[in-house]
């Protein structure tokens, strides 16, 4: 380890200043106020951990998006509110976009009033709406959703921060009247591992994340968090099957947003690029191969969804706050 006891003090202030100035000059490019969009690589922030469905989806379609925007698209994982914050505070020039979970962020706004306001974001649309699958751990002994109704002993639910799966489980626990204890993990991988170990009783993720674990007997499918059953797990009941069809609105949307104040022409270019990307044969083939849902909505087609979520979630504010602060 470096120690300085043998060295004499001979500061080189001029050299240091020159180095710092040069460093700053090398990396600080002057920005033109009204440069044509896009005028460089587009940064696509994912406020989600590496390795999940958001990550795989974004990285899968980023090359096609880059082709349509005619600039590189750089995907960056900045998990949690830090990532949302970076999208919110980026320059509204279209060069920074985010792939957000609007339900999770709306819930965060209800529960804790973060420094960013998701209502002010420029919402471009959604790549797809996914169906989450609630599974029970083998160790929990739970085999059906009916066993949870009216249960007195708390159920440990695996979560990774304030996200759609957490919100969905809060809603379900409130509707079916079973108490929950959130168990928070840093990454989806750790959540799955904890579930396999039996540290959690219930967890909810995209269907694809659980299929092989169900096959191996490590997870028991309990409920498909969607109005209808899913072909990937056809025997698992849906919300309609258990009499909770009204919660079908609280599905997970993998939505794309930009900072507040993005000019309309830039927004339209981004929307057009995403529309072209999602209808590109390469993207369609990728979605089929990776078993992702193919139900994107852009621009004004997505607006009613966003408004609907924004209106429906606050009705459950008390339930959300209670679950989070217990």
């Amino acid at each position: 380890m470096t120690t300085l006891q043998d060295h004499r003090w001979t500061p080189t202030i001029q050299g240091c200043s020159a180095a710092l100035l040069f460093a700053l000059a090398a990396i600080w490019s002057p920005t033109a106020a009204f440069a044509q969009f896009p005028n460089g690589p587009v940064r696509w922030i994912l406020p989600e951990p590496t390795g999940g469905n958001f990550d795989a989806l974004a990285r899968g379609i980023a090359p096609v998006l880059a082709k349509n925007l005619k600039v590189p698209v750089v995907v960056q994982n900045i998990p949690g509110p830090e990532g949302v914050n970076q999208v919110y505070r980026a320059k509204p020039d279209g060069q920074t976009i985010g792939m957000l979970d609007p339900m999770g962020e709306l819930a965060r706004e209800i529960v804790m009033k973060p420094d960013f306001n998701v209502h002010e974001m420029t919402w471009l649309g959604r790549i797809n709406a996914g169906t989450n699958l609630v599974v029970a751990s083998k160790k929990s002994g739970i085999t059906s959703f009916d066993e949870l109704k009216g249960r007195k002993t708390p159920v440990r639910i695996g979560i990774f921060g304030l996200s759609s799966p957490f919100v969905q489980l809060i809603m379900l626990s409130s509707a079916a009247k079973f108490p929950i204890v959130p168990v928070n993990y840093r990454t989806i991988g750790e959540l799955i591992f904890g579930h396999v170990r039996g540290d959690t009783d219930l967890s909810s993720l995209g269907v694809n994340a659980w299929l092989k674990h169900i096959e191996a007997g490590n997870a028991v499918p309990i409920l498909m968090v969607g109005a209808e059953r899913d072909a990937r797990s056809p025997n698992t009941p849906s919300l309609n099957d258990v009499g909770l069809g009204q919660y079908g609105i609280f599905t997970i949307h993998r939505a794309v947003s930009a900072p507040p104040g993005v000019p309309a022409d830039v927004r339209d270019k981004l929307v057009a690029a995403f529309r072209a990307t999602m209808t590109d044969p390469t993207t369609i083939a990728f979605l089929e191969r990776a078993k992702f849902e193919s139900n994107s909505l852009w621009g004004s087609d997505f607006d009613p969804i966003a408004k609907g979520l924004g209106a429906a979630l606050p009705e459950h504010a008390d339930v959300l706050k209670q679950a989070v602060t217990q």
Partner: protein
């Protein structure tokens, strides 16, 4: 078909042209990334991932294996020659690699690192293949409570092992833990902590900023302000800077003289690698600590000890086999790099999960064999560039310092494209330099930052799994053993501190009577 029965298929793939080219490309690319301080393997993976979409998945796996296998090896070169870790997992290499370099033994140190890396990687890959059925139940014993004790043990033991007064080491580690808490965090829903209303601090401090600032730029300031401190100008040995081939090759065989250290550190590295969310950054410190505790020459640790260098390097390379285990067996990434590999599988239409080994044995063998051969390529690459790198001490120190600062600035911009990150790197670099002047360990701050963060998150998660009952921390035999070990280390540290203080106590002067 059984995974082991597919080994001939895997070997056949390995000796095909495209996989070999992919492997060599991945190794060179990963090696170069490791060589540049501040550039992390995840960034390298993120850049290369889209280019693999149109590849045969087997070839893509060889590219990833090459990148992951060679990255740490590239990172150990600046760690040894300049005292600056190329990647976060090379921080402990500096402890003994750099002092060796300062006394003119850079080539020997590089050889020791290369030989150790081969042994560590081979060990873990063989263990992975042979002991998968045994490892799975073992792995399932490590939950958040157990990990909490592992991190706590590591923090306390490393504080005791750091050079200098224990209180200064404790201060450094604590400072690192406080820095890790800045930003969003907390038990369940993340809340801002220590952000003072700053939107920049809401983002937290990235590990790359801490490593770059405290370990890289602080050392650059030493070169810049001190115009000295460069290694390999050893007056005592009269050895000039530059590659000494004989010393390098002799160094490659030296780990064989320390079989105990190699095996212990490889076992630890493999085990740590298997635990999701832990990784090489932790493995190196825990292994170094173990080496220090078990060595008969622990007084040499931190002063250019061969055994110290071996314990640091073996674990880093052994973790590679370990991290494949949860990835293959559970479809759970062993670390950030494996998370990228899993994302790639999903993009290719492959479902990660418990049955992956048997359903896609060809890909599994591609990763295993690729990691092994990547270390061979990395040794060749080390030979190729070490000749140049070991001549760096011939350059004036202030030019080295300036170059390092510039490279760090650019590398930091690559991470988040945030100019304030660069400013923070320079500020933490200056702060690290001041810590060095005060003889406070900057490595201790990094250890506190890495281990403290994991300790906190596992503490909360464990408590939540136990419904808030603290007995969860002693609810399994593994956690009890780890808890007892931690308490013993704390007791040993306290006893040592008391002994030191009693040795320093002034003699009591007996009053003399005026009457004789």
């Amino acid at each position: 078909m059984d995974f082991l029965q597919q080994l001939p298929v895997g070997l056949d793939q390995l000796f095909s042209l495209k996989p070999l080219i992919g492997l060599l490309f991945g190794a060179a690319y990963g090696f170069l990334f490791g060589l540049v301080p501040g550039l992390q393997p995840i960034t390298a993976l993120a850049v290369i991932l889209p280019f693999t979409f149109n590849m045969d998945p087997v070839v893509a796996m060889y590219v990833f294996a090459g990148l992951i296998g060679a990255n740490g090896r590239g990172g150990c070169i600046p760690a040894i020659v300049l005292g600056i870790p190329g990647t976060a997992q090379n921080a402990a290499t500096v402890f003994d690699g750099y002092p060796m370099s300062q006394r003119g033994e850079a080539s020997r140190a590089l050889g020791i690192a290369s030989g150790t890396a081969m042994l560590g990687a081979t060990f873990s890959l063989v263990v992975l293949v042979l002991f998968i059925p045994v490892f799975v139940p073992f792995l399932l014993n490590f939950g958040p409570a157990e990990l909490f004790w592992v991190m706590t043990f590591g923090l306390v033991a490393m504080s005791a092992a750091l050079p200098g007064p224990f209180l200064k080491a404790l201060f450094a580690v604590t400072l690192g833990m406080v820095l890790a808490a800045i930003g969003y965090g907390g038990p369940a829903v993340a809340v801002p902590r220590f952000t003072f209303g700053s939107s920049y601090l809401l983002d937290g401090i990235d590990l790359v900023v801490i490593i770059s600032g405290l370990l890289v730029v602080s050392q650059a300031f030493v070169y810049l302000f001190e115009r000295s401190g460069m290694p390999s100008r050893s007056v005592a040995t009269g050895v000039k800077a530059g590659m000494q081939w004989r010393a390098f090759f002799a160094g490659c065989y030296e780990p064989l003289k320390y079989p105990g250290a190699v095996i212990r550190s490889s076992i630890l590295g493999t085990i740590v690698g298997t635990v999701p969310g832990v990784g090489g950054k932790v493995a190196q410190f825990l292994s170094y600590n173990l080496g220090y505790a078990t060595s008969r020459e622990r007084e040499k640790f931190g002063h250019g000890s061969t055994e110290g260098l071996i314990t640091a390097e073996a674990a880093v390379d052994a973790k590679e086999g370990g991290m494949l285990l949860p990835t293959f067996v559970f479809g759970i990434p062993g670390n950030g790099e494996m998370a990228f590999v899993l994302a790639a599988w999903t993009i290719y239409g492959l479902q990660p999960g418990p049955l992956f080994l048997n359903e896609h044995a060809d890909l599994a063998w591609a990763l295993i064999l690729g990691l092994f051969v990547a270390n061979v390529f990395a040794t060749i690459l080390t030979l190729g560039c070490a000749s140049f790198v070991t001549r760096i001490p011939n350059v004036r120190p202030e030019y080295i310092g300036l170059t390092i600062i510039l490279v760090s600035a650019v590398a930091t911009m690559v991470i988040r494209s945030n100019v304030w990150d660069v400013a923070l790197v320079l500020i933490t670099g200056l702060f690290g330099y001041l810590l060095l002047l005060a003889r406070i360990s900057v490595i201790g701050v990094v250890i506190g930052f890495v281990l403290g963060d994991l300790m906190e998150s596992n503490f909360y998660t464990a408590l939540q799994t136990g419904f808030g009952d603290y007995r969860i921390f002693v609810s399994s035999s593994v956690s009890i053993v780890l808890a007892v070990a931690t308490v013993l280390v704390i007791a040993a540290v306290i006893v040592r501190a008391i002994r030191r203080m009693s040795k320093m106590a002034p003699d009591v002067v007996q009053p003399t009577s005026t009457f004789g």
